[in-house]
Amino acid sequence: MTSTAARYDTPVTIAPVLRYAILFVVAGGVLIPLLTTALGGFKSLGDLRVNPFGVPSQWEWMNYWEILASGRYWQLMGNSLVIAVLTVILTVATSAMAAFVFVHVRFFGATFLLNYLLLGLMFPAATAILPLFIKIRDLGLLDTYWGVVLPQVAFGLAMSILLFRNSFRQMPKDLFEAAVIDGCGYFRFFWHVILPLSRPILATVSVIVFVHSWNNYLLPLVVLNRDTLYPWPLGIMVYQGEFSTDWNLILAFITLTILPAIIMFFAAQKHIVAGLMAGSVKG
């Protein structure tokens, strides 16, 4: 069937011209703020004021260059990366282990403990942010990476355990029985059989946890006071406050901070879309 012929097995029959017209208008609405942000970073302030939409009349590479050369940008990115990587490693490790136990070991109180952990799905971190602040302070973790990482892990556990549990349960039962016959203990079964088979779900959970940590704002805002520890969402808010009307510099800074996420997104779009959708739906 050619593309111009009417197709009747589709949810909607609409003239291709109209379809693309609508799609281009919406895509424009989505992309124009992003493109003008990136372009705005290349403009002088005067140029931006008279010409916020178009290409720069003169490309001011220095706006970007000075941010890249300043050290501040790299420190923010570095902090975000350290916090996100630690959060991913700890979340994946603790939730995969817990899910493994819930799937493969029968023990007293298992149902209760699983439901207890899944309570974490019911409310956002914001509800308990003040007692959490007190707790982190009393543990001496204010102004440390761990003060951000550990609560992030704790709040990510419920969903990660659920995703791992669903995935482990779908593995053939024969695996377990074969392991028993071979005299393989739980540890070796987990390490040598389950984990190597779990790459897709490990990737999914890692993507979700990484993105959450990378974008997180409230928790680091409450926990971190020293700006040398700031992850980028805090740093960019400070930067915006300092340069409040120098929009060209702020736009360059925004562009550079979202660039890693956008590059990652286009490089690994299938995994990221599937991961984020799985995280919200299959949970």
Binding site: Y8, D9, T10, P11, V12, T13, I14, L23, V30, L34, T36, T37, P52, M97, F100, F102, V103, F107, L113, L114, N115, Y116, L117, L119, P124, T127, A128, I129, L130, P131, L132, F133, K135, V153, A154, L157, A158, M159, R165, K173, E177, A179, V180, Y186, F189, V211, H212, N215, Y217, L218, V222, P233, M237, W247, I262, L276, M277, S280, V281, G283
Partner: protein, 312 residues
């Protein structure tokens, strides 16, 4: 992203855990593995999620600045102050407004785009990616980008108004309309997520139904009304669930745009909690806000799942 964390959720909590099928056989070291593999998760969860939530309920009855022990017991006073407070009522109204706009504009837009992009024709993959792109951006970055768009001096909106001969305004500084400007950003940021949900749902629908309807002479609207929407029911209910829960938790997006101002006109429950609880270290009062937020989330999640999603 606020949508997904709590969003994904509840489903599992309500289903009786069928994992009890467990293993027919058992292998050695089962006690050791439970004692080694479970405590890290339990400890972290208890320390940083369960205890703080319980403590929020406790602190909410005290007037406390966080130093020493909470001793100034005030009973329900924090809650009374809260519900009598003008800014908190604005916050509640705003949360409701955002829910209404999400349901009335965002979800239909998402569904429309999903229908246009459900078939693999030229360019659909690219359009899907473009529409999903805002969803992966951090709320802070998205908020700042739109702060620029709305800027009265340098922004895109100001320029557009100028082209049409109108006076540029600082829309985010207008107490009466700033919240509507924020809603546009909410739609821009999250419709792609809902579109992806709908696309996944549409792909489950049997194609021959459409064909049969066409042969029977059904119009496009009839097909949409009688086939697409009913068969998409469970997806729509899920999407509505996420949209509402996400709207209740809205915070990160508002901070770079207005921080809840001007004069509290764009507060939501969480920005209110931040402004009047966290920044002023009013631990007791802020905890009371947290408790209210918690109850709203839990009652909504349980109620919605019980009533609307019990067959899904």
């Amino acid at each position: 992203m606020a949508t997904s964390v709590t969003g994904g959720t509840a489903k599992a909590v309500f289903q009786a855990p069928s994992w009890l099928r467990a293993s027919s056989t058992s292998i050695g070291g089962s006690t050791a593995i439970v004692l080694l593999f479970l405590p890290p998760a339990l400890l972290l969860f208890t320390l940083f999620v369960a205890l703080p939530m319980g403590e929020a309920a406790w602190y909410s009855f005290y007037n406390w600045n966080g130093y020493g022990a909470p001793t100034d017991f005030v009973g329900w006073r924090n809650f009374e102050l809260l519900f009598a407070n003008r800014a908190f009522r604005i916050a509640l109204t705003n949360n409701l407004l955002i829910i209404v706009v999400s349901l009335a504009i965002q979800l239909p837009l998402a569904l429309g785009m999903a229908i246009l992009l459900a078939d693999r024709v030229r360019g659909t993959a690219t359009f899907r990616l473009i529409f999903f792109l805002p969803y992966i951006l951090a709320e802070i970055a998205a908020g700042l980008i739109w702060r620029f768009v709305y800027d009265g001096e340098y922004g895109l909106l100001a320029k557009l108004l100028e082209l049409f001969g109108a006076d540029p305004i600082h829309i985010l500084a207008e107490p009466d309309i700033a919240i509507y400007a924020i809603m546009v950003v909410v739609i821009w940021k999250y419709f792609g997520f809902h579109m992806m949900l709908y696309i996944a749902g549409l792909q489950q629908i049997d194609r021959s139904l459409y064909e049969a309807a066409h042969i029977d002479g059904a119009t496009g609207w009839q097909i949409f009304r009688r086939i697409t929407v009913p068969l998409l029911g469970s997806t729509i209910r899920l999407s509505v669930f996420f949209a509402i829960l996400g709207s209740i938790q809205l915070f990160d997006l508002i901070m770079p745009l207005t921080k809840g101002g001007p004069s509290d006109s764009t507060q939501t429950m969480v920005t209110y909690l931040y402004t009047y609880g966290v920044t002023r270290t009013r631990i007791g009062f802020g905890s009371a806000v947290g408790v209210v937020l918690f109850l709203i989330c839990v009652v909504f999640a349980f109620g919605y799942k019980r009533v609307l999603m019990r067959h899904d």
